[in-house]
């Protein structure tokens, strides 16, 4: 279970919902998903720096949402980018921003994570010669 620090703006239930989505994405893709909701003054550069400061920056997928600036950044590390290309990230961002426009912040994040998970899910090949 992902640890969730204290913060304002999200209820416990909302944080738990996001944590479940993150855990599910981690387990399905083998990547390390990070969702950050808060002010992102540095924009894209700050988001990339956050990824670089992770323990496994190459396998990290950061979804940074700045509700006040109405800005979304999805940053994928090198290994993660091989699984989730920019087109997939754009599709996920479209899913998220569609919900954000309607005021559903948590729902948008979870749906976007679901899109990323679906595209980054490790494909299991079950052939007869591998049995």
């Amino acid at each position: 279970m992902a640890r969730v620090p204290s913060g304002d703006g999200l209820t416990d239930a909302q944080r738990a919902r996001v944590a479940r989505a993150v855990d599910s994405a981690d387990a399905a893709t083998g990547l390390s998903f990070v969702v950050r909701v808060g002010v992102l003054d540095g924009g894209r550069a700050e988001a990339e720096a956050l990824v670089a400061s992770e323990a496994d920056p190459h396998g990290t997928v950061l979804v940074a949402v700045d509700p006040l600036a109405k800005r979304l950044e999805i940053v994928t590390g090198r290994r993660a980018a091989a699984v989730l290309d920019d087109r997939t990230c754009a599709l996920a961002s479209l899913t998220m921003t569609t919900s954000f426009v309607a005021g559903d912040l948590v729902g948008g994040v979870c749906r976007g994570l679901q899109v990323l998970t679906d595209h980054g899910r490790a494909v299991v090949h079950r052939h007869l010669d591998t049995l």
Binding site: V35, S53, A81, V106
Partner: protein, 130 residues
Amino acid sequence: MLTRTRAALAAALALVLCVLVAAPASATVTGPTSVIDQDPSVMTVGQALLVFAGIPLLVVALVWLLVSAPGWTRDGRPSDADAWTGDAVVVGGSTPEVRAGSQPAALDAAGTEEAAAEDAAETGGTSAQW
């Protein structure tokens, strides 16, 4: 020639349909409940206003209410983004600085900015606004 024939056929068909639809109106039915035998003074002015103005206005008001009500609901619901007041909330990840929502360590220490920039150059993803 073929076009004129089709047009004439369509016109004839339309005429037949119109006659079939309008034919019952020409029927002369006389009886105790016949409309023809009704006294026009039976309906008062108030009843006429109620029927010919009140009911249409009621229908218009109902349609307007059905169209507008969802908008009221959506406007009344507080947006998650608008309610955002405090520090960053981070779910997942491994670095304490990231989880605390503060400035990343990679930017704090001089000399590590280049390393962060190198890593950043290898990243992918996308940016969006709403």
